[in-house]
Symmetry: C2
Subunit: 388 residues, 2 copies
């Protein structure tokens, strides 16, 4: 059994995913050396030490890791780690995600150490063109209808649908993608062998057949409350963008969207009747976050993720200027940017010969694509090395 | 009969309201001299000359003006002109409104020369705290419901509701304001004696009793198609902000909102089900115009117009700094602005010790209130004379 994989599994059993401290240690010394240190009691970070000590009481992590690996094999699942060919590229964005939560840095935003997977197809390609469609468990028929339309449309056009495993919007998103004969991925907050909620058990089996079930937690892990929030960062990072269809007031949706935007992914929100409690959270996001985009259906969703996508896709076609795959207006805007200094949108509009409104939209897109940065109160070309 | 008033009425009979050329002439030489020149054939501007010649064929404008004034008096209405104590202050913003329509300047944006009024209360004070609530004729029950909630709430809190005279949202806005015992103003695109549409005749009578019927056109004038667009500028300029409740795709709503924003008024849009054709126009505005604010009910509307309003209201309380009536965050933002140079929102946030998101919202508000201007790719204090 590969030492690195086994060490990562043992670490995943010892420490909840996302830990900054653990990620830093593994990045510096590798998983096996980090595991040795933790098991030897050599843990500087107090919160990490407490966690490790508590888990050690439950038995030898190396032994438990071997059991978990065998259990995974027996159920026909697999474990993937960074460096594997099918590792989803997007989660690397979590390496530098620093989220400010009430004045302190969120400690649970780092990439997974490994992922449990059920389903035949390779994970990385499945996420290559993917959109998350998420929302309330207590969805209304309106929410389910809109979710189905968007999700079916994505699947039909060979975009992968990604969601959690909850009732309501999540389940509707998977069902529509499956109905379209498309690929759908459920990212769970518990083991891939645990149908939670159990009412979705048959759905999970279908997803495992036709798409993928993925989790950062080992088989048998419970869907603990805090795990849903930790899980959400993987959905945000691994996809091109996230659509929130319905969300109650003060639900986690605003937080999810904050994360999506912090990761430079496209944050999309479906409005609804102002008389519906299940659209209050959506309207809160649209009022509070000027970067969130209102979308009313599949056409808007494709519009938002498609253009960023067209640029990012297919990097293997040989030497190109970064704007070769951009739409015409975006290309004009990029061409109008001076080599060095920052300029205002008005100046860009004048140089490009485009209406200011068009320029503002394209600049937002180009910023999302990492081609443009804000600097000196204006906008400038991103440094060459920063352009993806 | 006052010469100025009679000349203005005659000019209103000769030329459609809003004419830039006519406004320039009246501003330079006064209404009586301008009328003399037009009647003497001394018209430089070709479009104005054509219009005047066509109308002259219908008879002597001075004589027709006298008839119109007598007719107005007989029906218990009145004519008001700029300089009258009750002239609504907001329409003066039209003096400098230059709207670009497809590469040329809209020629019909200047203030009315005079207004016909039915209703007891003085016009100016009625508009002092006013919000326009407008939308589709073919409103749905959802739109009527939301309109009623907003309109009733405004009237209850002694805000005047302003709208057109159409079926659907306009009528619902008036009805709810009347039901709340509040003040409502219908700004018509025909004579104040012409109930158009006739199905709203009883409603117009009630509005004339409890609120105001207003028009730029003399008694008997027909509700011609182009007059609705011309009329809309008065609604936008005279009010603090405009709420669009429902609008079909590619309706005039986006144009209306562009005008509202160009006048530095608050543009508010109610979202709706994405499955409703009557919300498509609303979502178009919210997607296309980053300055338009999504509102879901009376609380949001008051929030948007209230703060601007608190600052603008009651200028008679003696010497104050402009920010004395601002909320605390806005005051912090204003205090953080350097006396001369322009700075970025990030710098403002650092100086004010506020989150960037808060700063961005407050800057938008302060810009609307005329206290902050965009300059050199950043933001700066408005020149003292420009601050209202």
């Amino acid at each position: 059994m590969a030492t690195d994989l086994l060490a990562r599994v043992a670490l995943a059993l010892l420490v909840e995913p996302g830990s900054r401290a653990l990620w830093a240690a593994v990045s510096a010394d590798g998983a096996p050396a980090t595991l040795d240190r933790l098991l030897g009691g050599d843990v500087a970070e107090p919160s990490l030490r407490a966690t490790v000590l508590a888990r050690l009481a439950a038995g030898d992590p190396r032994r438990q890791a071997e059991v978990a690996v065998r259990k995974t094999e027996r159920m026909g699942a697999r474990i993937i780690v960074p460096g594997d060919e099918e590792w989803p590229a997007g989660v690397a964005a979590l390496e530098t995600l620093d989220l400010d939560v009430g004045g302190r840095i969120n400690q649970d935003t780092r990439p997974p150490l490994c992922l449990w997977v059920r389903g035949e197809r390779p994970v990385g390609p499945a996420f290559q063109r993917s959109v998350a469609v998420v929302g309330a468990r207590a969805a209304t028929s309106y929410g389910v209808h809109v979710t189905s339309e968007i999700s079916y449309g994505l699947a039909e056009r060979e975009w992968t649908v990604v969601s959690g495993g909850a009732y309501g919007i999540d389940a509707a998103a998977h069902r529509a993608a499956l109905a379209a004969g498309g690929v759908t991925v459920a990212v769970l907050a518990c083991g891939v062998d645990r149908p939670y909620p159990s009412g979705n058990a048959a759905l999970f089996e279908q997803i495992a057949e036709q798409g993928l079930l993925i989790s950062e937690w080992p088989p048998g892990a419970d869907p603990l409350r805090h795990r849903f929030l930790i899980r959400n960062r993987v959905i945000a990072a691994a996809t091109r963008g996230t659509v929130v269809v319905e969300a109650a007031a003060r639900s986690g949706a605003a937080q999810t969207m904050g994360r999506v935007l912090a990761l430079n992914r496209v944050a999309m929100v479906v409005p609804g009747p102002v008389t519906s409690a299940m659209s209050v959270g959506c309207h809160e996001i649209l009022r509070g976050d000027p970067q969130a985009r209102l979308v009313t259906g599949i056409a808007h969703v494709l519009d938002e993720v498609g253009r960023v996508g067209e640029y990012l896709a297919d990097p293997a076609r040989g030497p190109e200027r970064p704007w070769d795959n951009l739409d015409e207006d975006s290309a004009l805007v990029l061409e109008a940017m001076p080599a060095q200094r920052a300029i205002t949108p008005d100046e860009v509009a004048a140089r490009a010969g485009l209406p200011v409104r068009t320029v503002l939209r394209r600049l937002a897109l180009l910023e999302t694509a990492g081609l443009i940065v804000r600097r000196d109160g204006g906008l400038a070309l991103a440094p060459r090395k920063a352009r993806r």
